[in-house]
C-alpha cells in the first residue's frame, strides 16, 4: 500500500516514514504543503497522512485543493490542534479521520490500515480468498490453516492482491501501490516478488492462487465475473 506522509517536523516525519515502511507500506514523505499537494496529485496513494500546520501551504488548504480536484484518497489528518471545532473543521473539509498529536504509533498504524481497507471496500480486517486467510491487523497469513512466513514486501504485495481478490491487478498498479520509488527500480521486481509469493503460498498438492493474465497482470483467486 502506498502512503503519503505530509509533515513538516522532520523527526516525526522520519519516524512515521520508517515505521510505515517497516510495516510493509510504500511511503513517500513531504515536508511542506506545496510538496505534499504535488505528491498527492502526481501519484495514486492508498492513504494520506496530512499535518495541518505546514509551511508554504497549510494542511486544510491542501485538503480542500485535493478534494476540489476530485482526489478521493482517504486522508488522515494529523495535528496538534485537538479542539472539537478543529476536528469538525478538518472532517468537514474532507478529512476521513483525525488523530491528535502526540499519538501511539500503533494507533496511527491501525487507522491507516482501516483507511486502506475502506479504499478497497473491505471492512473486515480478515481478508479471505479460497483457503487463504490474511489477518491484516496482526499481519498473519495462513493457507489451509498453516501459517506462512512472509517478508514485509511479500506481505504488502499479497495484501494488495487480496484487497482486490478476483480482479486483474496490473504490474503498474502493483508497482505504484506497493513499491518505494526511491529504493527499488525496474518493473521486473514485481515479477520477482510474485515468484517469491507463489513459492510460499502454492506448495505441492495445493491449488494455484495467483494467476497470471498475460499482458494484463495478476489475479488472486478465481477471476470475478
Amino acid at each position: 500500500m502506498r502512503i503519503l506522509v505530509v509533515e513538516d517536523y522532520t523527526p516525526l516525519r522520519t519516524a512515521i516514514t520508517r515505521g510505515l515502511t517497516e510495516e510493509g507500506f510504500a511511503v513517500d514523505a513531504a515536508g511542506d504543503g506545496e510538496e505534499g499537494e504535488w505528491y498527492a496529485t502526481s501519484n495514486a496513494y492508498d492513504a494520506i497522512i496530512l499535518d495541518l500546520m505546514l509551511p508554504k501551504r497549510d494542511g486544510l488548504s491542501v485538503l480542500a485543493n485535493l478534494r476540489a480536484r476530485g482526489c478521493a484518497t482517504h486522508v488522515l489528518v494529523l495535528t496538534a490542534r485537538d479542539g472539537v471545532d478543529d476536528r469538525v473543521d478538518g472532517l468537514d473539509r474532507g478529512a476521513d479521520d483525525y488523530l491528535c498529536k502526540p499519538f501511539a504509533f500503533a494507533e496511527l498504524l491501525a487507522r491507516v490500515r482501516a483507511l486502506v481497507r475502506r479504499t478497497y471496500q473491505a471492512k473486515d480486517p480478515w481478508l479471505r480468498c479460497e483457503d487463504l486467510e490474511i489477518d491484516t491487523a496482526r499481519r498473519v497469513v495462513r493457507r489451509a490453516g498453516a501459517a506462512i512466513e512472509l517478508t514485509s514486501r511479500e506481505y504488502a504485495l499479497l495484501e494488495f492482491l487480496a484487497l482486490r481478490a478476483g480482479q486483474v491487478v496490473s504490474r503498474t498498479d502493483i508497482w505504484e501501490h506497493v513499491y518505494d520509488f526511491a529504493s527499488e527500480n525496474g518493473s521486473n521486481v514485481v515479477d520477482v516478488y510474485i515468484g517469491y509469493l507463489r513459492r510460499k503460498l502454492e506448495r505441492e498438492g495445493q491449488s494455484k492462487l495467483i494467476h497470471t493474465r498475460r499482458g494484463q497482470g495478476y489475479v488472486l483467486g478465481a477471476e470475478a465475473g
Partner: protein, 484 residues
C-alpha cells in the same frame, strides 16, 4: 468586623437620644422654673396677706390670726411673724418659736426665698420685712416686723420627678424606635449593595466576560461598580492571555512529543541492530534538545514577566560584542551561502548588560540566518545618536507582508505556521528580544519592505542597572565597515 449597618443604627439611635436628652433637660428646667415661680409667688402673696394682719393696738403690736384651716396643725403651709428682736408675734401651731427664725429677708414686694428643712421635710420659705405704722392721736409708732411663710415642696418635687421620668422614658423609647426605624431604613437602603454583593459573588474565573453594568446601580455605587468592571476587564484580558499562552505552550509541545513518541514506538516495534538504536537515541536527544530550548525560552519569559531579571551593566564595545556573537552563526550563513554586510560604527563603547544584549543579538542573528533566502544577504549595522545605540539586522527573502511585521513579537507567532524547527524557532525568540530590550532600557521594532525583513534594536549608550562601569568617553560614529 465592623458593620456599616450596625454603626449607622447605633449612630442614629445615639444622635436621637442625645437630641431628646438635651430637649428633655430644657423642658424639665423650664417646667421646674415655671412651677417654682408659681410656688414662690404664692408664698409671697401669702406673706403679704399675713403682713396685713399685723396691727398696732394700744402701743402694742399684734398679729391677728389668719382665717381658714390651711395654717392649721395639719396644713402644709406654716408661717411665723416676729419683730426684729425675734419676739414671735404669731406663728402656725405646728411651729415652735425657733422654727424658721433665721434666713435672709426681702421686702413684701419681693420676699427672700430659701430652701430649708422643717421637721425633716424640705420646704421653700419666703421671708419679708416691713414696717408697721400706727398714727395715733397721741403718738406715732413704727414697728418693723418679719413675716416668713414656708411650704413643703414634696408635691412640687414629686411633680418634677415624674416629669423627669416621663422625659427620660420618652427619650429612651424614641431612641430605641429611632434605632429600629433606622435599621429598617438602612436595610432597605442597603438592598442594592446586597444585590451587588450577590452578583459579585456569582462571578468566577469562567464568567470574567460578564460585567456588572451601571444600569440599576445607585449613584453612590457607580464609582465602585465602574472600577470593578474595569478590574474585571483587565482580569479577563490577563486570564485570556494566560489561557492562550498555556494552550500555545501545550500545542507547541505536542509536536516534539509526538516525534519523540513515534521515534520510540517505531524503534521498539522490532529487535534492531545496535546502530539503529543509537540512531533512534540520537534522534530522541535532538528532539529533547529542541524541547529544552523551548522550555528555557519559556522560563526566561516567565522570569521576565515576573520582573526577576535585572540588567547588570558593564562597559563593552558593541562592534566586538556583535562579532563575537556572530561566530556561532557564521557556519550556518556559509552553508546557506548568505552574504553578510557589516556596517559597524566602531568602536562604539556603551554601558549595558552584555549577557542580555547577547541573547537579543543571538536571536536576531539566528532569525536572519534561518529565514534569509538561500544565497541571499544579511546586513548587520550599528549607529549611535543622542545617547542611543541602534543595531539593525536585516535579511533578504522575507515572505511576510508589511502589515505582519508587528506580529513577529507575539509569542508563538510564525509567518507560515510551520513547526519545522520547533524548539529553535517556536515563535518565542523575538518576544524574548522585545522583553529584554525593555530591560536594557530600549526598544525593538520590525519592518518588512521590498521582501527584506529588518529589525532595529535601540538601546541607551548608558543603561541604568545593577553595577555598571564608570563612564568613559563615548566615541562618535565611525565609517562603515563591510565584510562578507
Amino acid at each position: 468586623m465592623s458593620s456599616l449597618r450596625r454603626r449607622a443604627v447605633a449612630g442614629a439611635a445615639l444622635t436621637a437620644a442625645a437630641a431628646l436628652a438635651v430637649s428633655g433637660i430644657a423642658i424639665h428646667l423650664t417646667v421646674r422654673s415655671v412651677l417654682t415661680g408659681g410656688f414662690d409667688a404664692d408664698l409671697a402673696a401669702r406673706a403679704r396677706a399675713l403682713a396685713g394682719l399685723v396691727v398696732v393696738d394700744s402701743g402694742h403690736v399684734e398679729a391677728l390670726a389668719p382665717s381658714g384651716s390651711e395654717y392649721g396643725a395639719e396644713g402644709d403651709v406654716v408661717y411665723r411673724i416676729a419683730d426684729l428682736d425675734g419676739v414671735v408675734l404669731a406663728r402656725s401651731p405646728a411651729l415652735s418659736d425657733r422654727d424658721l427664725a433665721s434666713g435672709d429677708m426681702g421686702t413684701l414686694e419681693s420676699p427672700a426665698i430659701r430652701l430649708d428643712q422643717l421637721h425633716g421635710a424640705a420646704v421653700r420659705a419666703a421671708t419679708a420685712m416691713w414696717t408697721v405704722r400706727h398714727d395715733g392721736r397721741a403718738s406715732r409708732k413704727e414697728v418693723r416686723a418679719v413675716v416668713t411663710v414656708a411650704r413643703r415642696t414634696e408635691a412640687l418635687d414629686t411633680q418634677l420627678g415624674r416629669l423627669a421620668w416621663l422625659l427620660s422614658a420618652v427619650t429612651a423609647a424614641v431612641a430605641v424606635a429611632c434605632g429600629l426605624a433606622m435599621s429598617a431604613v438602612i436595610r432597605q437602603v442597603l438592598v442594592p449593595l446586597d444585590r451587588l454583593a450577590k452578583r459579585i459573588g456569582a462571578l468566577d474565573d469562567r464568567s470574567l466576560g460578564k460585567r456588572l453594568g451601571l444600569g440599576a446601580v445607585p449613584l453612590e455605587l457607580v464609582p465602585v461598580v465602574g472600577r470593578l468592571d474595569n478590574l474585571l476587564a483587565r482580569l479577563e484580558q490577563a486570564f485570556t492571555r494566560e489561557k492562550v499562552f498555556s494552550a500555545a505552550v501545550a500545542h507547541e509541545l505536542r509536536t516534539p512529543i509526538a516525534g519523540l513518541r513515534a521515534t520510540i514506538d517505531v524503534c521498539q516495534a522490532r529487535v534492531r541492530e545496535p546502530a539503529e538504536y543509537q540512531r533512534a537515541l540520537a534522534e530522541c536527544e535532538g528532539i529533547c534538545a529542541q524541547m529544552q530550548a523551548m522550555v528555557e525560552s519559556l522560563l526566561l519569559l516567565a522570569r521576565l514577566d515576573t520582573g526577576q531579571i535585572h540588567a547588570r551593566t558593564e562597559e563593552l564595545d558593541l562592534a566586538d560584542a556583535l562579532r563575537a556573537c556572530w561566530r556561532a552563526y557564521d557556519e550556518a550563513a556559509r552553508t546557506r551561502r548568505l552574504r553578510v554586510d557589516w556596517k559597524l560604527a566602531e568602536p562604539l563603547l556603551m554601558v549595558t548588560d552584555p549577557a542580555l544584549l547577547r541573547v537579543v543579538t543571538a536571536n536576531l542573528f539566528d532569525n536572519a540566518t534561518s529565514h534569509a533566502d538561500e544565497g541571499g544577504d544579511i546586513v548587520i549595522a550599528t549607529s549611535s545618536a543622542d545617547g542611543i545605540a541602534t543595531i539593525r539586522v536585516a535579511n533578504s527573502g522575507c515572505a511576510l507582508a508589511p502589515e505582519q511585521a508587528g506580529k513577529v513579537f507575539d509569542r508563538f507567532w510564525r509567518g507560515d505556521a510551520s513547526r519545522g524547527a520547533t524548539g529553535r524557532h517556536c515563535g518565542l525568540g523575538l518576544s524574548l528580544c522585545q522583553d529584554l530590550a525593555t530591560i536594557l532600557g530600549g526598544n525593538i521594532t520590525a519592518s518588512v519592505q521590498g521582501g527584506r525583513f529588518s529589525i532595529e534594536l535601540s538601546v541607551p549608550l548608558r543603561s541604568g542597572g545593577i553595577g555598571g562601569a564608570a563612564g568613559k568617553k563615548t566615541p562618535g560614529q565611525a565609517g562603515p565597515n563591510s565584510a562578507t
